[in-house]
Symmetry: C2
Subunit: 195 residues, 2 copies
């Protein structure tokens, strides 16, 4: 997202902040560990002086997306708005950490297109379904498997894994701190953060 | 807007930024001078090191609000989303400068409620209608007065002036730089900015 008439260009903001802006998009099944890793990255980046902000579904569904339900159309519109919101935050100079199941490739591509000219970093938070079902911290899989929750990603609705994610985290094997480190290292190696 | 689970609290962001966050909301007729003043405030605040970002209708109608038209319902939803977006930016630690005609008190009150706990500063960009018609930089009043543009604020749709704006700018009398100064001074005097 670029403003048509900007009193301050995004480049100037990024120069002053001492880092590039970016949209880091964590996708994966429910209980794969997205929010935990997102919070770890946000805390780690803030600690080193980065302007960083995490976006999470629950907060937005109480605000910006309050009018939306859980039909396929509404879920798609929800992610469209998240992508646009992330793009505004990136234009404002921030590194955005967005964690959303976002099961469809097309919707993630839409979010990526909205972010331009900011880089969009797709992070596949990859945990096998049986491990997610075993974890089930909110009891959602139990309800989905009993048929109580319709169209639940991984159970009764598809999850399309990223084909070429910038970062691939096997969270059934990696401890959280290592996943966080890998994201931070990627941001350093691509010049979004300076060391 | 406050996140339910925040890796970094808004207070910490504001402390590090060295200023409070806020939503500065400029309301007034088309051609009253809102965007010009907003850009002046954004540039002035950026120059003194503030994390500041300006929101304008045209940019958002190409992005977040792309699905909305100009019916009364859609205009109202447009402003609702702007209010929520401004609230997220304020939670991220920024001073937001929003310039929108926003003709109805109820809609401005909704934006103000979304901003909580960030202060919402209503700025009445007040220019008499005949002066706005005389300026008419985009030729919109000409079209509205000829009946070509229906429901045009000030011509064929009402504008409800703020009853107790935090800042009242008579832009037919004040040069732009003075209007900008008055906004900046207000932010200093209320402790949002440090001098």
């Amino acid at each position: 997202m670029t403003r048509a008439i900007a009193a301050v260009e995004s480049e100037e903001r990024q120069r002053r902040n001492g880092h590039r802006s970016a949209v880091v998009w964590l996708t994966g099944l429910s209980a794969a560990g997205k929010s935990t890793i997102a919070r770890g990255v946000e805390a780690a980046l803030f600690a080193r002086g980065v302007q960083v902000y995490g976006l999470d579904g629950d907060d937005l569904r109480r605000g910006l997306c309050r009018d939306l339900g859980f039909s396929p159309e509404d879920r798609s519109e929800n992610l469209r708005r998240v992508g646009e919101l992330a793009a505004v935050l990136a234009d404002a100079g921030l590194v955005v950490i967005a964690s959303f199941i976002s099961p469809y490739r097309r919707e993630r591509a839409t979010a990526g297109a909205a972010a331009v000219p900011a880089p969009f970093i797709e992070v596949f938070v990859d945990c096998p379904l049986d491990e997610c079902v075993r974890r089930d911290p909110k009891g959602l899989y139990l309800r989905a498997l009993s048929g109580e929750l319709p169209e639940f990603t991984g159970v009764s609705a598809p999850y399309e894994p990223p084909e070429r994610p910038q970062i691939h985290l096997r969270t059934d094997r990696l401890p959280v701190v290592q996943s966080v480190d890998l994201v931070v290292q990627y941001l350093e190696q691509t010049g979004i953060l300076t060391r």
